[in-house]
């Protein structure tokens, strides 16, 4: 083997997979066409446009920088790769009170607005792909029970209503307290770096997670961004039928 043959061999053996597996898919996914609604299945036509809210770009970056993806995934795999779609709330709910069966696997557009899809390393903690929607469902159940307990309309619960933002902040500040309150175990550590201490000036902040001796612990900029990102992680929007597990299943059984 001459040195020249050696290098030609190296270029070919590396260059071909590099092109096929990396460069070409990178270019083709960059210019991916938006999915379309199909009138026969979706009863509507047009381009599917995913809707997002919250501080998605900044929140996603902070999520990555803080290593949240080490313990949390954000992916619902198809059945050939796992049972994710059957885990209640992970890729949607089988019986979502508002939208019916919303279960579906993850799609490329789920990560739009981020620089990098936070698929995640492991599931030391729960999957967070649909965390925002799970919180909404939990809040609705809590508010319903509270309204019955207090004999009020849900809309008039006021300060008794479940505060999603505060719940997330409390979890980030000290997940152990939160878990103990609900008789649960968690291995989520405290993320106190998302909070600053500030002297109480007049009324306490609505978002204070702790107040001790005139000093309150309130979320800082990074804390607010990560909270906004987390509560907006939802997989409950309307998608074309071809992308939805439940509706595909119905079609298959007919």
């Amino acid at each position: 083997m001459t040195v020249k043959t050696f290098f030609y061999g190296l270029i070919a053996s590396f260059g071909i997979p590099w092109l096929i597996m990396l460069a070409v898919p990178f270019a083709s996914m960059r210019s991916q066409e938006a999915p379309q609604f199909d009138e026969s299945k979706d009863e509507k036509t047009g381009v599917f446009q995913p809707m997002y809210s919250g501080r998605r770009g900044t929140g996603s970056l902070i999520y990555r920088q803080e290593g949240c993806a080490v313990c949390h995934t954000q992916v619902t795999r198809p059945t050939y790769a796992g049972n994710d779609v059957f885990r209640e709330g992970q890729g949607g709910f089988a019986k979502d009170e508002v939208r019916g069966d919303t279960r579906r696997i993850s799609m490329p557009f789920d990560y739009n607005g981020e620089d990098y899809a936070n698929i995640g390393e492991s599931r030391i903690g729960p999957d967070l792909g649909n965390y925002g929607r799970r919180l909404e469902v939990k809040a609705a159940a809590y508010n319903k029970a509270k309204a019955e307990e207090l004999g009020l309309d849900i809309d008039k619960l006021g300060e008794h209503a479940f505060n999603i933002e505060l719940a997330v902040y409390r979890h980030l500040f000290d997940p152990q307290i939160n878990a103990k309150k609900h008789m649960l175990k968690t291995n989520c550590p405290s993320n106190s770096r998302f909070f600053d201490e500030a002297g109480v000036m007049g009324q306490e902040s609505d978002l204070a997670v702790a107040v001790v001796d005139g000093v309150e612990v309130v979320p800082n900029d990074r804390g607010r961004a990560i909270m906004s990102y987390l509560i907006n992680l939802k997989r409950d929007g309307e998608v074309p039928a071809s992308m939805q597990y439940g509706r595909d299943k119905e079609k298959g059984s007919k």
């Binding site: 597996m21 460069a23 405290s190």
Partner: protein
Amino acid sequence: MSTETNSPYLEDTQLRADIDRSLRHPVMFFFTSGAAWLAVSLVLGILFSAKVHSPGFLDGCSFLNTGVLYQAHLSTMIYGWGAQAAFGVIIWLMSRLSRQECKASGLILTAGHVWNACIAIGTIRILMGEGSGVAWMYFPKFIWPVLLAIYFFIGIWAVIAFRVRRGGHIYISQWYLMATLFWFPWVFISGHLFAIGYLGEGHEMMATAASAWYRSALMFLFFTPVAIASAYYIAPKVTGRPVYSYNLALFGFWALAIVGPWTGFQRLMGAPIPSFMQFLSAGAAILMLIPAIAVAINILKTASAKKDAMAHSPSLRFTVAGVVGLLVFAALGALMSVPGVMKYTQFSTAQYGLEITGLLGFFSMCMYGAIYFIVPRITNREWISVGLIRQHFWLTVYGVLFIAIFYTLGGGFLHGEILENVNESQDSAYTRLFPYAVSLTTGFIFILIATFFFCCHLLLMWLRLGRRSSHPTLLVRHAHGSPHGPEGDLDKLENLDSNLSTH
């Protein structure tokens, strides 16, 4: 008459001594600072795993967040220890095999200092929550171009040594070294361009895919070839026997070159990337068994030609353990790439355990073997303590076995099984994970103690406090003879030299 027969041998020994002397400081710097970074990485790893099983641990230190500890731990292991150990081995091996003194040791040493400064800055920034957050590229964006430039400063001298090599023959180790010198920049540049977003607007899912490919390519096309090159050098050198089969070596090399670049995307099985990428990569990861088996047969057959050398020589013992580590790493990697198995292992403890098994059980063991061989030659001193070497070996083996058996295999499947069971709560998954996380901490503690012994030993050698002896330090009491051959007798050579010049 005797001068005629001795002259080529003396010239040869003198040349090797000159090469060793020319590389003393850069190579010792890479090895010692690399070992120190490994110790730092293991401390960070212990903190990380302790926080997994005891979440309240060090809660008061807000900068020691679980996620950033993990990122800093892996970054220091890969770029602090792994890359520097590889650089030391690459420049020394290439100079020795090409029979060329290094003319730029000062430049390489300076580059090494800058590399270390970058690792330190990058690690601090990660701990401050200012890294990139991209897998295996956790340092902030501005660090990467500097690291690449430093790599060129270091790597170019190995390429030059190869270009102006003496003698026409190209050794097996040189193929691997040249291949890794060629692959590394390509892998590094593509990984960073695609994953970190230097190319501007890309697709976020492909950025993740590129980082999955990058970590696999770095493992198989950088760490693996350097470790194999070292094994192909150490085994025949220590045993004094030629490599068992040249053809098998050639086959193993091309199998790695052909299969290696296709792996990586299996980590994203089920994620929204084209499914052909996931399955092709899974297939390639299974096929990685082929080069691993080819290399293992060749090295183990070569080493077993002289069994006492395997028992007595620290270099050979570490190298053989590293080759066994390669087999284990490839077998676990293949098993975990079977789609049916991946359901359980993809997001369990298995994947991280596999990476640690590869980095510490295979790559690091081969590097230790090379370091135990190289350091006495470049410092002109023998290792001080057999006990320290023995402790280093056994504690590392215990630590790696703990991680491979309990955390990677046991935890991987049993934690994965509960994650796959939709009727089980997150609570049960945490309870199931607990003992395996403890086993990771235990494994890391074993390896940290071993690394502490190794660092101290290495530092003493760099300070030239090693034994002035013509016999290498062997893992046996009252050893007679030297499995390393006459190459270790540099003191004797100096005496001979002075005798010749006086006559």
